[in-house]
């Protein structure tokens, strides 16, 4: 069975450091890491491959440096990587990204099962998986927490819903998006790391996968980011002291003020 896993490199930290004197932002130069939801998707694909045979390809749209992330996926059990990288792809929203990924997957010759993390921790949109499925004309299931069985032409999955879980059968080929608890990500071995240096990572440009320049990158993105900011903290914590009676009275007074 042929598995393709979409992975994204995200910043290793969300902390912002400021110079106390100049108040300018300091770049800490920490390396990017694999989006944790995507890492779980890779682990799931590798586990399924170990059960039923086949191959796992990790695919990413990103800057050339994302190759190291793809090699890390190989060290953890994937067979090869595909990196879609081109200046034309820069500034893409989810619509343009899912289009670009779909063209990359088409060039790969498609896959029986395409896995995505539920969302990226730096964007939080959770749109790529479903959009990709629509582009490829495949059925999809979101928020998968377990693969219960692999049948010849279908997967039996458990997904979370607003008020519980639901088990369902989906025909192959399909797209699924997974939550982190779907698998415990393995640590790579030295043997895996050696294999990752030898294994192929295909680097494909816009020309290689035949994308329409009007539909990729900034050109293909109807979403415009107006501003990014750290949300202001409006929560106020008040501590009450004194005897239990005094504290209870103070609490009632405070509650009356807001209710």
């Amino acid at each position: 069975m042929k598995f393709a896993v979409c992975v994204k490199q995200v910043p290793g930290t969300t902390e912002v450091q400021l110079d106390p004197v100049t108040h300018t932002i300091i770049r800490d130069g920490r390396k990017g890491v694999t989006n944790p939801f995507d890492a779980a998707a890779v682990e799931l694909a590798v586990t399924l491959k170990e059960q039923v045979g086949g191959s796992v390809t990790a695919i990413s749209m990103g800057i050339p440096a994302a190759e190291s992330m793809l090699r890390d996926c190989i060290a953890r059990g994937a067979d090869e990587g595909v990196l879609l990288t081109d200046r034309q792809f820069a500034g893409a929203d989810t619509l343009a990204t899912s289009y670009t990924l779909s063209k990359g997957i088409e060039k790969m010759g498609g896959a029986d099962c395409i896995l995505c993390g539920r969302m990226a921790v730096d964007g939080d949109t959770a749109q790529i998986g479903p959009e990709l499925a629509e582009r490829l004309g495949l059925p999809h299931v979101t928020d998968v927490i377990a693969v219960l069985s692999v049948e010849e032409n279908a997967l039996v999955l458990r997904k979370t819903t607003a008020d519980g879980t639901i088990d369902l059968r989906v025909a192959l080929p399909c797209v699924i998006t997974v939550l982190r608890e779907v698998a415990q990500v393995r640590l790579p071995s030295i043997e895996g790391i050696r294999r990752s240096f030898a294994a192929p990572v295909h680097v494909w440009s816009a020309a290689d996968i035949g994308t329409d320049p009007a539909r990729t990158g900034l050109n293909g993105s109807p979403t415009q980011v107006m501003r990014t900011f750290v949300p202001e903290k409006t929560k106020i914590t008040k501590m009450f002291s004194g005897t239990p009676e005094e504290q209870a009275t103070a609490l009632c007074t405070a509650l009356k003020e807001v209710l």
Binding site: G12, E15, D19, T22, L187, P188, S189, I190, G192
Partner: protein, 524 residues
């Protein structure tokens, strides 16, 4: 009132991580050097013995009082400033009650409460913000330990294989002597003349001390006072186990954090394979900062814990065939260097009967945290097991050794520990700093009889380790629990010389009673 009577609210202050329980009459929580001076003067006048304590994470009961006053420094928890050392170096000044984890957090996030810092410190901070990330290398497993506690017992940890213990990172100290006088010392400024050390005190008076003439073991060592001819005065106070002075300010050296940090846990079928691998790594691999061991017993406890306890479910699975594990941490200035070392480790594994496929490599912070969790889970699991056994037999407690021997005796001591515990039928779990031939063999008694046997066995080991030119306490300090071992390691003359140092600093013998010197010896 700085000195308060001891009340039930202070019950937690009479115990430490060794689970020793003491008692006290009064307690204080000073916030400054001046308050410590005031408290100590008052205690000295009234002849009241006192015990200094920080976070009480020690394993030797050094912070546990048996009567008298508790001087608790946990409210002296401010980071006082940063200092520049030459072009690119930094040091940090702290009060002794700052926990290691808080210092680490501040250094890594580069976030300090600098409202009261001096102009020079703020200048250093500005340079610090633009420098490479800095770190404080000593890394005892328990990161809630206070820096004052770490200096008092000269703590080390996994990375001491490369970076050494706490001592060399202590650049300056300010302290209050047991009679209330103040002392400021900076490394490189006050040396002994042969074996005579004269300390200039802040009030202009002097204190003269005769340095003991014993030869310290060449291994990691925290057993007894540091002593060498012409030594730096700072070195005497570091590792003095709360018996010579109360630290009120510490200046600690920082180092630039290596750009690339990776770790690998290697799994073996047998202890013999693991020991051969240790020798090979020591001889052939550069960039190794720690070499940590987990034996079959430790892995078995962890395996059970993982199955029973959801908190440990995130640990990697431990297959039954695994009889030993080694963690190797590599530091380097670029990734290519570290990757080459990882490859060498792979080759050495194949040569020693291991397998590059049976390894867990951590190259990201998330993965390093997972391997760290694994290492911490071992002592945690052992403590949980002992707590369960204690319910049936309240008199028992875990017995943990802290002895080190020179490199050439590693195989011998591993076999010796194994044979002597097996001969008595004791349940053990062993882990620790095998790179320094420094293992924590933990006897896990199932009943009082085994507890007594284990205690007697540790005394035997103290003699054995001394005969191999090793140290009876390599990193935990001596405190009260290991005071008996000192008599195995040092001659009566050497112990008398140590006692003379103590008497010079503390003529009324008020500070840290029972630490280093067994109580009955001291009251003679």
């Amino acid at each position: 009132m700085l000195i308060q009577p001891f009340s039930p609210a202070h019950a937690g202050l009479v115990r430490d991580e060794s689970r020793t329980v003491g008692y006290a009459d009064s307690v204080s929580f000073p916030r400054s050097h001046e308050q410590v001076t005031q408290i100590v003067r008052s205690l000295y006048q009234d002849g009241i013995p006192f015990t200094v304590q920080g976070a009480r994470t020690g394993l030797t009961a050094a912070a546990v009082p048996f009567g008298g006053h508790i001087l608790n420094v946990t409210r002296m928890n401010r980071i006082l400033g940063l200092n520049r050392l030459g072009e690119n170096g930094f040091s940090v000044s702290v009060q002794p009650g700052v926990p290691l984890c808080e210092l680490r957090k501040a250094l890594s996030a580069r976030r300090f409460d600098h409202a009261s810092w001096s102009k020079a410190s703020l200048g250093a901070l500005s340079a610090f913000m633009h420098s490479r990330e800095q770190f404080f290398p000593p890394d005892p497993t328990e990161t809630t330990a206070t820096l004052g506690g770490m200096v008092s017992c000269n703590a080390s940890g996994a990375r001491s294989y490369r970076y050494g213990a706490t001592r060399p990172y202590v650049l300056a100290v300010r302290a209050v002597l047991p009679d209330g006088r103040s002392l400021s010392l900076r490394r490189g400024e006050c040396f002994a003349d042969g074996y005579t050390l004269t300390l200039p005190l802040e009030n202009g008076s002097r204190l003269t001390v005769q340095i003991p003439q014993y030869i310290m073991p060449k291994t990691k060592n925290t057993a007894g006072y540091f002593a060498a001819p012409d030594m730096d005065a700072v070195d005497l106070l570091v590792g003095s186990d709360g018996t010579l002075c109360v630290f009120t300010e510490l200046e600690l050296q920082l180092l630039p954090l290596p750009a690339c940090i990776q770790g690998v846990t290697c799994l073996f079928e047998t202890e013999i394979q693991a020991a051969a691998f240790v020798q090979a790594v020591r001889e052939q691999v550069e960039g190794v900062v720690s070499l940590e061991y987990f034996d079959e017993g430790a892995l078995a406890v962890l395996r059970d814990q993982r199955a029973d306890h959801p908190a440990f479910a995130s640990l990697p699975p431990l297959d039954e065939w695994i009889g030993a594990a080694l963690y190797v941490e590599l530091h380097g200035d670029d990734e290519a260097f570290v990757t080459d070392r990882l490859n060498e480790i792979g080759d050495l594994l194949s040569a020693c009967g291991g397998d590059p496929a049976h390894t867990w490599v951590a190259r990201t912070q998330t993965d390093l945290d997972r391997l760290m969790f694994f290492r911490h889970a071992v002592p945690e699991s052992v403590n949980l097991l002992i707590d369960r056994r204690k319910q049936a037999e309240p008199g028992i407690t875990k017995l943990g050794s802290d002895m080190a021997v020179p490199d050439e005796h590693l195989d011998h001591i591993l076999t010796y520990y194994r044979q002597t515990t097996q001969a008595l039928g004791l349940h053990t779990a062993t882990w620790g700093h095998i790179g320094n031939n420094h293992l924590h063999v933990n006897v896990l008694p199932r009943n009082l009889e085994e507890y007594t046997k284990g205690k007697a066995l540790f005394n035997e080991w103290a003699h054995k380790v001394t005969a191999l030119n090793g140290a009876v306490s390599a990193e935990h300090g001596v405190g009260k629990l290991k005071a008996g071992f000192l008599t195995a390691m040092y001659s009566p003359e050497s112990l008398a010389q140590m006692r003379a140092v103590k008497a010079a600093f503390d003529p009324k013998l008020l500070l840290g009673r029972g630490n280093l010197f067994a109580e009955k010896e001291e009251s003679r």
